[in-house]
Amino acid sequence: MSIFVDEHTKVIVQGLTGGQGRFHGLRNRDYGTQVVGGVTPGKGGADVEGIPVFNSVREAVDATGASASFVVVPPKFAANAIIEAAEGGITFIVCITEGIPARDEAVTYNRLVEEFPGVRLLGPNCPGIISPGKCNIGITSGDIALAGGPVGIVSRSGTLTYQALHELSQQGVGQTTCVGIGGDPVPGTNFIDCLAAFQADPETKAVMMIGEIGGSEEERAAEWIKLNMTKPVVAYVAGVTAPPGRKMGHAGAIISGSKGTAQAKMEALRDAGVHVCANPTEAGAKMVDIVRAM
């Protein structure tokens, strides 16, 4: 099994007719994902290499029965696109858009939680999700993932998500699902959501977690792991050498005062019984050892 998405997941792409939307949407379909429609207001009736385009999410959902949406629209329109997806009946939204204002993210997150409690948002500013061999929504290259499990991956960092997949796949260790939650300040889905889903998924036997500096999500995840997680967790936290007060790429990745350091996060994870590794390669090797010993 996988978490959140599988071979039955029907996906629409909001922004399919744009450059990025077309590129990633088609790439996801080529991977085998059921990309059943696109949404671009005013372009309903057209198609993109056979994928029908609708004027609204509601129309697309009614016509295709999609439950997931891949939001690939510019930052200016992303918040509205996400809310439109929820209003249109989508229950799983992946938004890869980078550069959405924090205010829009905060309002959107809270509107979803308050008005659409059954809807999950992944991102914004995330690489997406891949359940290898079943479904790929986002920008992850399918080549570096390996189907069949038994490892679940959850990562706040884009490129390190790929690195993590690569470290495992090249050793022949597959993944159930790899979730990139993104590095923005207000992520729709967090570590705990993914850890809980992996804990509940019988095919996932171990979890690899990639954190980074900033915020306290890793610490909260550590607390959750301590209380709830029975499966082994291997973690790497990027940014041990990051200087305080400078944004390391993402708006989320910043050490404020004494808060959000990699050291504190690693310590919390270690306290929770997590195997904390010093770099992605070491984390990969540790996970391979754990899986081989099962």
């Binding site: 959405i100 490129t159 690195q163 500096i213 915020g215 708006a251 770099n279 992605p280």
Partner: protein, 379 residues
């Protein structure tokens, strides 16, 4: 983007938040002109984006033109924690009965907005939070609902502000929240927010950080940007769309993705080296971008070796290799380059590079190997 105090006050004024009358001055003469206009006594304040100005002698009271001349002359050019003062803010001095603290920021764990209000202002809020957290009235604000006057009134009462200040402050806080949200600030802070002996509340300082992601709806931010006195390398990086942060080490770093770049710094550190910079070239790593990145690093005299760490996701590694080769033709690089290229089309990429490998351009199969090599070369 952090604003200077004077920019923050200009921004506050847009939202109707009362500040002291004043203006900026880049020269002693201009300072005198402002002082004469707003009326004595005035405060001459260094405009630097760093705390502790007062202690460093960057804030002075001037009662007459001679004092303005003296203080403005002393403060212009002053080095405050590495920030050279190039601009002053001159404002009418205020009598202070009470100093409060007020701010809005994002409460990341709770995904709400967080207001902090304290009757104990004028000192660093971190110190108050540490020593006497009960002196801060925290307000969690649902971003969907915002802050209304009724809630603001409840908040000022809870914070035990002086009664004469409460209604004015309640109204000011609603404006500050508007500034924070509609104005797309990451932080909007007033410390101190003062109550004058005449019973008037206004902002005596302004600390504003803008959320650059919201630039598209704020054409007025351009004016703030023009006034920036940035590190020239960081300015150049920004112009090229590169995410660069200068550090103190000897190994130049180029990586795609912020996480991988951070991780590269960590690995260099683990094998005994020190990074000269953080540099995330983002998703697309074509020849232009790579050339700009190499040029930037090359300009740093501390750099003894360059570690290029690319994991091809969307970016194909062969394209990156091509980019590196093209860039090397355009830019003369003085330090040896260690490349680690992995991910999509890695084989093809390495093959492309193979004929060009030399003492100044080498590849390694893993991050760790590449880091060891780059660090050895930097010693």
């Amino acid at each position: 983007m952090d604003l200077f105090e004077y920019q923050g006050k200009q921004y506050f004024a847009r939202y109707g938040i009362a500040v002291s009358p004043g203006d900026v001055a880049d020269t002693v003469e201009a300072a005198i002109a402002v002082a004469e206009r707003v009326g004595y006594p005035v405060v001459v304040k260094a405009q630097v984006k760093v705390g502790g100005r007062g202690k460093a002698g960057g804030v002075k009271l001037a009662n007459n033109v001679d004092e303005v001349r003296t203080h403005a002359g002393n403060i212009l050019g002053l080095d405050i924690k590495g920030h050279v003062v190039r601009r002053l803010w001159i404002e009418r001095s205020s009598d202070i009965a009470k100093e409060y603290y007020a701010s809005f920021t994002l409460d990341r764990p709770n995904k709400t907005h967080l207001g902090m209000l304290s009757a104990q202002g004028g000192v660093e809020i971190e110190i108050v939070a540490e020593e006497n957290p009960e002196a801060i009235a925290f307000l969690s604000i649902d971003p969907v609902r915002g802050l209304d006057l009724a809630t603001s009134r409840r908040w000022v009462a809870e914070a035990e502000l002086d009664e004469v200040a409460r209604e004015q402050t309640a109204e000011l806080l609603v404006k500050l929240y508007d500034c924070y949200t509609e104005g797309d600030c990451d932080l909007a802070e007033i410390n101190p927010l003062i109550l004058t002996p005449e019973g008037v509340v206004h902002a005596l300082d302004a600390k504003v950080t803008l959320d650059e992601n919201a630039s598209f709806r704020h054409p007025e931010w351009e004016a703030f940007r023009e006034d920036e006195f940035e590190d020239p390398r960081e300015k150049m990086a920004k112009a090229k769309g590169l995410n660069y942060i200068g550090l103190d080490g000897t190994v130049g770093i180029i990586a795609n993705g912020a996480g991988l770049a951070m991780s590269t710094l960590d690995v260099v550190n683990q094998v005994g080296g020190t990074a000269a910079n953080f540099l995330d070239i983002g998703g697309g790593a074509n020849a232009d971008v790579m050339a700009a990145a190499l040029e930037l690093i090359n300009a740093d005299p501390k750099v003894k070796s360059i570690f290029v760490n690319i994991f091809g996701g969307i970016t194909r590694v062969d394209e990156v290799a091509q980019g590196v080769l093209e860039a090397l033709e355009r830019v003369k690089i003085t330090s040896p380059i260690v490349l680690r290229l992995d991910g999509t089309n890695a084989e093809a990429g390495r093959a492309l590079l193979a004929p060009h490998v030399s003492a100044n351009l080498m590849t390694e199969p893993t991050m760790l190997d590449a880091a060891r090599r780059a660090v050895a070369l930097a010693k």
